[in-house]
Amino acid sequence: MASSPYLLLVPAAVAMGAVALYPLIYSVRASLHHYRFGRDFGSTGLDNYRNVLHDSTFWTAIGTTAKYVGLAVAIETLLGLGLALLVSRELRFGGLIRVGLILPMTIAPVVVGVIWRLMYASDIGLVNPIFSSLGLGSPNVLAHEGSAFLAVVAVDVWEWTPLLFLIILAGLQSLPQEPLEAARVDGAGPVRSFFDHTLPLLRPVLMVAIVLRLIDAVGTFDQIYVLTKGGPGTATQLISTYAYNTAFQFTQYGQAAAMLVSLLAFLLILMAFAVRVTRRAARETAA
């Protein structure tokens, strides 16, 4: 019996090792090899990394990803926080509202893409008629660089604001009431008491929500693939779509692996941070 708990862990370790750990190690190896038309032509040292560093499209994709993630997560956090404060306590139809709001983030991101293809379409969509009825002309939203970028950010906001809202709401509802009551008795207004009490108490939960969303957003792929395939031009080309094209359209596995290893290095820092805030929040809400 003494060794059995370790035996219980073995199948899980094998399963996760095979599809997560081993591929990551294999990526590092592939990033040091030269592939042409999908065939391995042996080691090339750091050539792939050098090529990636000198590839301006790669840097454009990094910049676009950073803008996309920053803008989307910032808007989602502010909207989610605003909504959660609006609802905060006991509310009728609470269940209905929750059900309605989880739908955008639960359905497959591919379906989210389809839904917004249908909304944005210049000939059969709804966004154009809405814009023109507001006197804003009828832009073909996905066909122009600036508007296409904002359009895919808007889709991200539509899809993921509910996540921030639900997490923050759960956080708000588990806050201790005494400090808020005390502040109110002391005559603090709602704005003061929000910044002095609610926000600091909410911080652990808020951090979890933001960090998890950040990591997830960096990997955004599905909606972009369905909506714009990274276009027009490179206006919505994220690191994920660029790496995908490099690997599966141009069969440059080595170069794609070099990009992904670089991305992994960056993400690991973010993930280590995520692990810390998640564990801390779990401890604090459990206590």
Binding site: L8, P11, V87, A108, D123, I124, F221, V275, V277
Partner: protein, 275 residues
């Protein structure tokens, strides 16, 4: 109780938010029920002549039935295996003091695996599965999904199992049950709601995956629903009707499952950090 805003205003604001969240679904449904000529005949928020021809084309020349069958097989097998494998590991982590700080470190590893964006994994997995001749096969997808989902199961089940008092299974073991029998007869029934929620979250996540299935499959023999939906786009002329119908069919099972677990939603999405 603080009330900074009048009730009416709060409800009006929420109604607007719900409308924005749900209206695009309605637009997809309406488009899927329109005849092609009506789709192009200007804005109308209800179908003038309801037709199911988009759906019959979807299941005919567009292989949707095949995609659904593939998804059903791949998702159910992968989720079933990962539930068994993951729950056993979660039990070990929740109930035993392990050496090497495993209780803590193993959870950190599962969390990291869970957070990895699929794009980081698909290129090496594609190369390796190619060498094993497992590309474009349901088995290949099952292997990948099983491994990835195991991390989620461990994380969720560990937190559910820790909430079950130890005394109960210890009593069962005093009565002569082995540990695994006690787990099966006593602990799992108590953890059933958590297990069900974990299973449903796993189904949703696995069914929804697009990038992995897109990279590893190439024909309707193995392609899953999201990949099937995407094949309706990207042609020179988009078939709006069947595409909308595909979106509806792709979303329906998930909407059904989401309603079942909505109470556990926050916990599932934050890896149990917020309950």
């Amino acid at each position: 109780m603080k009330r900074h805003l009048p009730r009416g205003l709060t409800y009006a604001g929420l109604a607007a938010v719900l409308l924005i969240a749900l209206f695009p679904f309605w637009w997809m449904l309406v488009t899927s029920l329109k005849r092609p000529i009506d789709i192009f005949a200007g804005v109308s928020l209800v179908p003038q002549h309801i037709t199911f021809s988009n759906y019959s084309r979807l299941f005919g020349p567009y292989h949707m039935g095949q995609f659904l069958r593939n998804s059903l097989v791949v998702v159910s097998v992968a989720v079933a295996i990962s539930l068994v494998v993951g729950t056993l590991a979660a039990y070990a982590l929740a109930r035993f003091r392990l050496r090497l700080g495993l209780n803590r470190n193993a959870l950190v590893v599962t969390l990291l695996v869970r957070m990895l964006p699929p794009i980081l994994l698909v290129v090496p997995i594609y190369i390796v599965l190619g060498k094993l001749s497992l590309l474009n096969s349901k088995i290949g997808l099952i292997i990948v999904y099983t491994g990835l989902n195991t991390s989620f199961v461990i994380w969720m089940m560990q937190s559910f199992l820790e909430e079950i008092p130890r005394d109960i299974e210890e009593a069962a073991m005093v009565d002569g049950d082995s540990r695994l029998t006690a787990l099966r007869r006593v602990v799992l029934p108590l953890a059933a709601p958590g297990l069900a929620a974990t299973a449903i979250f796993s189904v949703i996540a696995t069914y929804n995956d697009f990038l992995i299935a897109l990279s590893l499959t190439s024909t309707p023999n193995a392609q899953t629903v999201p990949v099937g939906v995407s094949t309706l786009i990207g042609k020179i002329q988009i078939e709006w009707g069947p595409m909308a119908a595909a979106g509806v069919v792709g979303a329906l099972p998930i909407i059904f499952f989401a309603l079942m677990v909505q109470r556990h939603f926050v916990r599932g999405l934050t890896m149990g950090a917020v309950k």
